[in-house]
């Protein structure tokens, strides 16, 4: 049975059993498996994992932006209850930017170096919303002011702006067609700590002002603590834990989550050194049987090698680990499903 408060609201985005394969020299490499989650309107969810854990691939699949060598091999994504044609470029086009937009990482390369920023912000207004050139420019000027850049700076080219300014431009651009969901693909990774904090503050403010749902992709848990409601932890292409920020930080269930949180340097806890997680994540070509984390897991058991643990729901969230058997009533619910 679901949490009654969750059942009351229809999710704005529902991802169910999403699977993505990469093609490499003729063979198909399973990259994302069985990713399911829901996002409510206005909710900020972080998708956290190491490099190569599949967090960006998951987000790009949801936005219908997979590269040509990757393909959705299962599952579906529903936006306000309607299935999104994420594997059909042409059919996806009307949904782009006006429903889901993306703030890409490293805004230098994500902005076209030969066009003025105002033009790049106005472009989707003209093409997706059918505004006239003047209307689109006026809208772009508003958006620039909204993210804290004076509209006059719109005539600048990307290389004339600082990294933080470019990321603000990227955010303004993402808001151009008033989307309900914004995916932030490591939006603060290339920035210094102070600029990073400013950008996160801006995102948080805009989110509540515009009632945006935010999917924040990051490997930085400190960013998560600052601006998200919920965290989903990914490992080797699967979700391993899902819960509220408060719960996950106070009481992580999955051994991987525990180690992730312990690896954050925390000055309040004395002079403890950063403790890295031993071992390396499995590569795409060599995914082990059973739980992918077992080779690095301090509490691995024989059962972990046999079958992939399911992402099971409990009161405060979901976790995929044999250490956490489902509650009695959940078992029934699973059997019925």
């Amino acid at each position: 049975m679901k949490n009654p408060c969750q059942q009351a609201k229809a999710p704005i985005l529902a991802v169910e059993g999403l699977a993505v394969d990469y093609r490499l020299r003729g063979s198909s490499l399973p990259t994302i498996r069985d990713v399911s989650f829901e996002i409510q309107a206005g909710e900020a969810v972080a998708l956290v994992g190491e490099s190569g854990s599949g967090k960006t691939t998951t987000a790009m699949a949801i936005a219908g932006l997979l590269p040509p060598n990757a393909a959705v091999s299962g599952g579906e994504v529903r936006y306000r209850g309607d299935r999104l044609p994420i594997d059909d470029d042409a059919a996806m086009r009307p949904h782009r930017w006006s429903e889901i937009s993306v703030v890409f990482q490293g805004a230098m390369n994500a902005l076209n170096p030969v066009h003025r920023i105002i033009k790049q912000i106005a472009e989707p207004c003209q093409l997706q919303l059918g505004m006239s050139r003047d209307e689109a420019i006026a809208r772009a000027r508003e958006l620039l002011e909204l993210v804290g850049i004076s509209a006059e700076r719109g005539r600048a080219y990307p290389h004339e702006l600082s990294g933080g300014m470019r990321q603000r431009v990227m955010i303004a651009m993402a808001l151009a067609c008033s989307p309900s969901i914004v995916i932030g693909d490591e939006p603060t990774t290339a920035l210094d700590v102070i600029t990073q904090a400013q950008i996160l503050k801006l995102l948080t403010a805009l989110r509540s002002q515009l009632n945006l749902a935010l999917i924040l992709i990051t490997h930085d848990l400190s960013v998560v603590a600052e601006c998200c409601d919920r965290v989903m932890i990914m490992y080797a292409g699967r979700l391993v834990e899902d819960g509220s920020v408060a719960d996950i930080f106070a009481n992580p269930k999955h051994p991987y989550t525990k180690l992730l949180i312990e690896s954050i340097p925390n000055p309040e806890h004395g002079k403890r050194m950063v403790r890295p997680i031993p071992g390396d994540p499995p590569t795409l070509q060599h995914r082990p049987s059973g739980c992918a984390f077992r080779s690095r897991c301090p509490s691995a058991m024989p059962v972990c090698a046999t079958e992939v643990p399911n992402l099971k729901r409990w009161e405060q969230g979901r976790v995929a680990c044999y250490l956490h058997p489902p509650m009695k009533h959940e078992e029934k619910a699973l059997a019925n499903a």
Binding site: L65, S101, N109, A110, N112, E123, Q128, R155
Partner: protein, 333 residues
């Protein structure tokens, strides 16, 4: 304020680039002078060598004196060369006795500009478009055909291509004339016939030059476009809901054009230098043929003139490249 700052920077850059061009041209002139002077042998000796027995040492000495060769090479002769050259006086030909070098070059220039200019225009239009398309549809059937053919054309010497064209279309099929720039019979015809005759003579040599250039442009344009399609801003464009055509025209085309513009404008500099090998194959009366004749006849003043013209056009082409790049790419403004 930002605008005027930008404007100041732009005009300073243009001034800088122009100054550099003038300096380069000056160096070219000096090198042009020294290059032929370091070749062993004295012009007067060589010119009168055939008549060694009947010419006395005094006569050779007086000839040297009248050409100014008795004075020191540096600075007297060099300064004399530079001052006359920059006054537009290129001197007199040895071989075509008494004819001014400038007149000889001007006489040959129209034929060369017609030949290489037409070839360049065709090659730019076809080569750049095909290359851009092949890069955009990378890995597709059209890309494979276009890239393969281009690589083959690029690596084929133009004079060999010219000979094959003559053999096939002139000797065997008899469709087109195989040499010269006009038929004597049509020289006095009325304008349409005269133009038609000139055009028919242009086809094969233009093809011989253009095909190789097309290959070159395709290879470069395709590589440039292949780089652009993997750029992050192309993903941004796709995410913004642009169609494939909009992505190509609005975000890829201009960026892919940047490396191509450099190559094209630099190549334009060679229009006036002619195509030495192809002009020889087709007995085309252009600068290229003039150069060959001048080398064979040890006609140093003509060679100096041709080299100076080439240097000038390359420097100008470089200048145009720099300025065009500034227009296309805001990062270098």
């Amino acid at each position: 304020m930002a605008g005027s700052l930008q404007g100041g920077r732009t005009s300073r850059r243009i001034g800088h680039v122009t100054f550099r061009a003038i300096l380069t041209l000056f160096m070219v002139a000096i090198l042009n002078f020294l290059l032929f002077r370091v070749i062993p042998g004295d012009p007067a000796d060589m010119l009168l060598a055939g008549a060694r027995n009947s010419v006395s040492a005094e006569q050779i000495e007086s000839q040297r004196k009248s050409w100014g060769l008795d004075r020191p090479l540096i600075p007297d002769q060099l300064l004399n060369y530079l001052s006359t050259t920059f006054q537009g006086d290129l001197g007199y030909s040895f071989k075509f006795s008494g004819r001014r070098v400038a007149d000889l070059i001007l006489e040959r220039l129209p034929a060369t500009i017609a030949l290489v200019g037409v070839a360049q225009v065709i090659a730019i239009l076809c080569g750049v478009m095909l290359g851009i398309y092949a890069g955009w549809r990378r890995g597709g059937a059209i890309d494979h055909v276009v890239s393969g053919t281009s690589l083959a054309l690029y690596s084929t010497p133009p004079f060999w291509l010219g000979m094959v064209l003559v053999l096939v279309f002139s000797t065997a099929l008899g469709w087109l004339p195989g040499y010269g720039s006009y038929s004597p019979s049509a020289a006095t015809a009325d304008l349409p016939d005269w133009l038609g005759d000139r055009a028919r003579h242009l086809v094969l040599p233009v093809l011989a030059i253009a095909l190789g250039l097309i290959g070159q442009y395709v290879v470069v344009a395709r590589a440039a476009m292949s780089d652009v399609v993997t750029e992050d801003y192309m993903v941004t464009a796709r995410a913004k809901g642009l169609t494939s055509g909009q992505m190509l025209m609005r975000h890829a085309f201009r960026n892919a054009l940047l490396p191509v513009v450099t190559l094209v404008t630099l190549n334009l500099g060679y229009i006036v230098s002619g195509a030495i090998t192809v002009e020889s194959v087709f007995a085309w009366p252009g600068i290229g043929s003039l150069t060959v004749e001048a080398v064979n006849g040890r006609d140093y003043p003509v060679l100096q003139g041709v080299f100076l013209l080439l240097g000038l056009s390359i420097v100008v082409a470089n200048l145009v490249t720099d300025l065009a790049y500034g227009i296309l790419d805001p990062r270098v403004r």
